[in-house]
């Protein structure tokens, strides 16, 4: 599995090809959302809803062999697309990798201007939540 930096650079390159064409960029993000793995219905609970998002986001995690995996869903396609990017970068990594990650790709692909500041807050909330999960797993494994 390529490291976080490599995956981020891949994403930046993909968005570079789309250039300044906002419409294609948005459609592309939505398509990414369409491809997100289905979210398990039993995880669709209030505890998994992320606050701070204008649209609704559900985020669930599990740990397997020292790696943290994320599953997510949203009621809007654009948000789903954005989460799918975060999952692509962060899912299946160790808690340490997730906690120390610097997600520079978000700014590089110009997300702020496309989704507006309100949704940027939502995106920030999603990242925070993912890191919080990682911190919790790390604390648990240290306690063992």
């Amino acid at each position: 599995m390529p490291d976080i930096t490599t995956v981020q650079n891949e994403i930046i390159e993909e968005f570079d090809i789309l250039g300044d064409d906002r419409e294609s960029t948005i459609f592309y993000i939505m398509e990414l959302g369409d491809k997100l793995s289905p979210f398990p219905e039993e995880e669709r609970i209030d505890d998994n809803i992320i606050k701070g998002c204008q649209s609704k986001v559900w985020l669930a995690t599990r740990e397997e062999n020292g790696k943290v995996y994320f599953l997510a869903d949203s009621n809007t396609d654009i948000t789903k697309g954005l989460i799918s990017l975060l999952i692509r970068v962060l899912s299946g990594r160790t808690a340490e990798e997730i906690i120390s990650s610097d997600l520079y790709f978000i700014e590089k692909i110009g997300m702020g201007s496309i989704i507006g500041s309100q949704r940027s807050n939502g995106l920030t909330a999603m990242i925070k939540q993912m890191k919080r999960f990682a911190i919790a797993y790390q604390a648990k494994s240290k306690a063992l």
């Binding site: 300044d20 906002r22 419409e23 960029t25 948005i26 459609f27 939505m30 204008q54 649209s55 009621n75 809007t76 396609d77 654009i78 948000t79 496309i114 989704i115 507006g116």
Partner: protein
């Protein structure tokens, strides 16, 4: 005295041509995300004609002074212009006299003023206030707060699937216990025009007073407070091509005079003495502190603009746009209009099947098209329709059929994604 030479462009009469009208609005002539701006969020706020923008500049450049107090020339000039707007508002809504026109921060502020003064004085435990399912939050929450503090009861007029008030249900909940009926004249989320005259007549028959939320009606219809016989009318300047943060409360004289003041401070007093203070006459009793002088003065130019174009012309043009847009967008697969009342202003609320309104809004924004998405500050109304929100396109005097064609093309493309 300084004469704004732009006066000539909007004085008296502007011949109705959309291109001429658009020339008065500098903001419309820009490119957004690579496309010419198509501004269809007029129910949220309208754009401002150049005369309004210039008036603000002129005021601060030449006339700035505090009003109603100074002996000096600038103070007199500012006061004269400020009071001139009041007179124009009086004429605009056909109030019997200009001292029944109170300047506020906006519709929300006007409604809160009534709740805090009239409400606290005349509405008590067990009394009833009637609103409707289609109210804006600013015509819900102040009454909930009043009910909480007084023990009064809030009653709701239900609406039909087309987005019209159930008038029979209204008659049924009206009773001698009803002290106030506070209803939106035109729904911001659906565009429905409510039968205000009938509502007022029925409410008066049981001795209730009526507040009309005119935030959306004053910009599209000729609202005549004497003909309607409403007790209060609240509206905002910013939806009438005027500045933000400014609104009007009209009230019947005897009611305004019998109401206690809203806020205490300068301007609203006759004489202050530690033994007791006497309050100023209306409207000043309700205008504590230094008011929003600049915006009031600039609002004059917005009203001049509307009157110069002619409200019947504005209405006719907007109705044509509404009909054109409704027919055209209805041909798109997956297009679902929300709110299909027989009488509407130029508001087109809709959903695209299988798509969230946010997604539609973000995609339209890529095309330079500004619409509103979400619950439109009317969550109980959204619940009534069992939806989270809608996409809302709302048209003003400067919108064109060309712009609706652009909207149509983009919506068609967007809807195809999922339909």
């Amino acid at each position: 005295m300084f004469k704004n030479d732009l006066d000539q462009t909007t004085s008296k009469h502007i011949p109705f041509s959309v291109e001429t009208i658009r020339a008065h609005f500098p903001i419309l002539h820009q490119v957004v995300n690579g496309n010419p701006l198509v501004y269809l969020d007029n129910a949220a706020t309208t754009q401002k004609p150049l005369t309004v923008i210039e008036a603000l500049k002129t005021y601060y450049s030449l006339d700035n002074a505090n009003i109603h107090r100074g002996a000096h020339t600038l103070a007199a000039r500012a006061t004269e212009q400020y009071e001139k707007t009041r007179t124009t508002v009086k004429e605009f809504i056909n109030a019997p006299s200009s001292d029944q026109v109170i300047f506020t921060k906006g519709t929300t502020d006007s409604i809160n003023l009534v709740a805090s003064t009239f409400g606290k004085t005349y509405i008590g435990k067990g009394d009833e206030i009637i609103i409707s399912t289609m109210e804006h939050h600013s015509n819900i929450v102040p009454w909930q707060m009043l009910c909480q503090s007084t023990g009064a009861i809030l009653k709701i007029i239900p609406i039909s699937d087309t987005g019209e008030l159930e008038m029979e249900a209204f008659s049924n909940i009206l009773s001698p216990k009803t002290k106030l009926v506070s209803i939106v004249h035109v729904s911001n989320a659906l565009g429905t025009v409510n039968p205000m005259a009938e509502i007022i007549q029925k409410a008066h028959a049981v001795g209730a007073k009526v507040l009309v939320d005119g935030a959306q009606s004053t910009s599209h219809l000729e609202v005549d407070v004497q003909e309607l016989d409403c007790d209060f009318l609240a509206f905002s300047a910013h939806k009438l091509y005027g500045p933000t943060g400014l609104g009007v409360l009209y009230g019947k004289r005897d009611i305004l005079e019998s109401m206690p003041p809203y806020q205490g401070g300068g301007e609203m007093i006759k004489e202050v003495d530690f033994e007791g203070t006497t309050y100023n006459d209306i409207p000043f009793k309700f205008e504590a502190g230094t008011p929003n002088i600049a915006d009031v003065i600039a609002f004059q130019k917005a009203l001049d603009f509307i009157l110069a174009v002619g409200r019947h012309n504005i209405h006719a043009h907007e109705q044509e746009l509404l009909q054109y847009a409704t027919e055209k967008l209805s041909t798109i697969k997956g297009f679902v209009p929300v709110g299909t009342a027989s009488e509407k202003v130029s508001v087109l609320s809709f959903l695209i099947e299988n798509m969230h309104p946010f997604d539609v809004g973000v995609m339209l924004d890529a095309g330079g098209i500004a619409v509103r998405t979400g619950h439109h500050c009317a969550q109980p109304l959204m619940k009534r329709f069992n939806i989270e929100g809608t996409v809302r396109a709302s048209f003003a005097v400067y919108n064109t059929k060309n712009e609706i064609d652009t909207l149509y093309q983009w919506i068609s493309r967007i809807a195809k994604r999922k339909n």
